[in-house]
Symmetry: C2
Subunit: 340 residues, 2 copies
DNA sequence: TCCTTCATTGGAACCGCTTCCAGTCGACCA
DNA sequence: TGGTCGACTGGAAGCGGTTCCAATGAAGGA
C-alpha cells in the first residue's frame, strides 16, 4: 500500500521523486515531447505514486487563462433560461471549460456579476443570457479581451444568438387571425420591469403588426402587461375575460403566462378552446403536457449555439460580430380553435 | 477624460502610479489598516484612474483559496434539481463565493467531475446533489481538506441534508389508504439506472411498510419501475390501468412521473380523481398548476441549507458530520378522492 | 536630551506552474 | 578523429497577488 501524502503533491515533489527537473515534469504533463521514454516513465510513475494533480489555479495564473466560462442570466427561476443553460452545459461538456453560473435576480446582483466578470481574470469568456451588459462593462470586457456572446439579447458590438421576436409575435397573431379571431388580446411583460425583456416588446410589435396587416384595429385595453409570472398573468386574464366585450383569443408572450391564462379560464368556467383560444411562446416542457398551442423557440439550441460561438472565439477564430437568428415554429396543439 | 490602459493594470502599476510599494497597495486593498490616510487616498485614486481590479486567480494562488464552490448534480434537465440549485444560488448570493456547475449526465462525466474537483485547487468546497461520491474521491477531498456537503444523498462520513424518503413513502400511501383505497400501485425509478436514486427505493419501502401496517398485501404487479421520465411513467401507468383489476390509486415517486400517470388516464378516458387517485412527490412548480396532490419536499430549502452548512464549514466551524432531515408535507389537491 | 515605541512603509520570498534559454552529451558526417 | 547537430534536461524568470520582516522616522517617556 502506497502512502498517501497528507498534503497534495506539487510539481516539485514529483520532480524530486523522479529525480528530474520540474521543467521535465511539466513537459511530460503537457506532452510537449522532447523527453526520453525512460525519463517519461519515471515521471509518470512518480505522478501515480504521489497522486499528483496540477493546480489549475497555478496553471491559470501562468497561462493567463482560467478554463472557466461564465454564464450570466436572470430568472434562474424560470423554465426557459434553464433550457438554455442545459444547451450550454451540453456544448461545454466536450470542452475543457468549466461553467460558472451567475444568477442576477436584482439590479445590484447584476452590477456585481458583471463587475466580477469583467475583472479580466475570473473567466475566459462570457455568455450573457436575456440581458444586455452595460456599455461600460462591454468596454471592460473588450479591454480584457474576454470574448462575450449574447443569447436572447442584442448589442451592436457583440455576437449574439437570437430569435426574431417580431416575426414570432406576428406568427402567433396571424395564426389566430387566420382561425378567424378578431378580438385578440396580448399579455406581455411590464415595461417598468428593470429586467424587462426586449423580446416581449418585440413580440408586442409583431402582434400589432399582424393586426394592422389584417386591418384589425389594435385595441388599447386588449394589450396588457405584467411580469413573467403565472399568477399575474392569471389576474390580467381574468380582467380581460370580464370585459364587456372579452377577447376570443389571447396571445401570451410566454408559456408561463399562457398557463396563467388557462388557469384564469378554468377558474371562470370558460372553456378552452371552445370559448377562448390561447397561444403561448417558448414551448417549454409543460406546454406539451398541457396541450398548449405555442410558438416554439429553440431554447436548448440557443444555449448550445451560443456556447459554440464562444468556444470558437476562444480558439482565436475571428468570431465576427454576427447575429445568428434561430428559427421559430408554430406548434398547434389543443388550446386554439376558430371562434364560434 | 482619463486614458484607459490597453492592458489591465496590475498591482505594481498601481503602486508605481501612487508612488508607494506594492505591499502598501495590498494593505489598502484588503483593509489591513496601518496605512496613513493620505497614502491610502493616493492609492485609491490610482486604483480609480487605472481601473485596477485584483486578479482573483493570483489571489487564489497566493491565498490558497478560490472563492468558488462547486455544485455537482445529475439531471439538470429536471425540475427538482433546479429548485435545489436556486436555493444554493440564493444562499451563496450573500457570500463572496462563486458557483461552478457540474452537470453529470453520464457515468464518465461524473468521474471527470469528481476528479476535477478533488484536484484540491479548483473549488474551495463541494455540494453534491442526489449523488454519492465514490469513496476514493471522498478520501481525496478529505486529503485536500475540501469540505463537502451532500444534498439528497447519504454518506457515512459527510454531512448531508436529506428528507426521510421512507416516511414520505408511508405518508403518501397511508393517505391513500385512509381515503379507503386498497388497490394502490407504485411507480418508481428503475433499479438498473446507474444513477438510480436511493430516494426512490426508500419511497418504495415506505409504500410497502404502509401497506403492511394496514394489512393490505403488497402486489408485485402493482409495483413498477421506469426512469424519471413522464413518458415512461405514462406507458407504465397505461399498462397498470389495463390490468384485469386496475389500481384505484397510484403513488408516483416523483411529480414528473405523476404527470405521466395523469396523461395516461386522460388518454384512456379515465377520470381523475373520479376513477383514479394520483399522488406525486416533490411538489414542483407545475404540481400546483395541475392541481396534483403530492408530498412536498423542501427542494429550494435543501439547496439553501446545504450551501449554508458548506459555508459554515468553510468558515472553519467544525461542521459535525450530521444529517439534517428536512420536513415533508402532504399537500392535498385535486387528484385524490375516496374510491367509489 | 536620548532612548523606546509604534505607526508606516517597502523589499523580497512565496504560492505552483509554464517556458525561455543555455548547457550536456552521444551520434553522425566529412 | 574533430566538429556539428539535435535530442534532452534543468535553472530561473515570470504570472500577480499576500505577507513576513526589517527599516524608517516621528512621537512619547524618563
Amino acid at each position: 500500500m502506497e502512502a498517501v501524502p497528507s498534503t497534495p503533491a506539487r510539481i516539485a515533489d514529483v520532480a524530486a521523486h523522479a529525480g528530474v527537473g520540474i521543467a521535465t515534469v511539466s513537459r511530460v504533463l503537457n506532452e510537449r515531447g522532447n523527453v526520453a521514454a525512460a525519463t517519461r516513465a519515471r515521471v509518470l510513475e512518480a505522478i501515480r505514486i504521489l497522486e499528483y494533480r496540477p493546480s489549475s489555479v497555478a496553471q491559470a495564473l501562468s497561462l493567463k487563462r482560467t478554463l472557466v466560462i461564465g454564464v450570466v442570466l436572470p430568472f434562474l427561476t424560470e423554465a426557459s433560461p434553464i433550457e438554455r443553460v442545459r444547451g450550454v452545459v451540453t456544448a461545454l461538456a466536450a470542452s475543457p471549460y468549466d461553467l460558472a453560473l451567475y444568477d442576477v435576480e436584482s439590479a445590484d446582483r447584476q452590477q456585481r456579476a458583471f463587475r466580477l466578470l469583467a475583472d479580466a481574470h475570473r473567466t475566459d469568456g462570457l455568455l450573457v443570457v436575456s440581458l444586455v451588459p452595460p456599455d461600460e462593462e462591454v468596454r471592460r470586457l473588450r479591454a480584457g479581451s474576454i470574448p462575450c456572446v449574447l443569447i436572447d439579447a442584442h448589442h451592436g458590438t457583440l455576437p449574439s444568438v437570437v430569435i426574431d421576436d417580431i416575426a414570432g409575435g406576428e406568427l402567433a397573431t396571424r395564426y389566430l387571425l387566420e382561425l378567424g379571431h378578431r378580438r385578440i388580446a396580448f399579455i406581455g411583460d411590464k415595461p417598468s420591469d428593470p429586467f424587462r425583456r426586449q423580446s416581449s416588446r418585440d413580440r408586442t410589435i409583431g402582434y400589432e403588426r399582424a393586426l394592422t396587416a389584417a386591418s384589425v384595429p389594435v385595441q388599447r385595453d386588449y394589450v396588457r402587461e405584467g411580469t413573467q409570472s403565472r399568477h399575474l398573468a392569471r389576474n390580467i386574464a381574468e380582467e380581460l375575460l370580464r370585459l364587456p366585450e372579452p377577447p376570443s383569443a389571447m396571445f401570451a408572450a410566454s408559456d408561463v403566462q399562457a398557463l396563467g391564462v388557462l388557469e384564469a379560464a378554468r377558474g371562470l368556467g370558460i372553456d378552452v378552446p371552445g370559448q377562448l383560444s390561447v397561444i403561448g411562446f417558448d414551448d417549454i416542457e409543460i406546454a406539451s403536457y398541457v396541450g398548449l398551442t405555442t410558438i416554439r423557440q429553440p431554447l436548448f439550441e440557443s444555449g448550445r449555439r451560443g456556447a459554440e460561438l464562444l468556444l470558437q472565439a476562444l480558439q482565436g477564430e475571428p468570431a465576427p460580430v454576427h447575429v445568428e437568428t434561430l428559427p421559430l415554429d408554430l406548434v398547434v396543439r389543443g388550446t386554439t380553435r376558430p371562434p364560434r
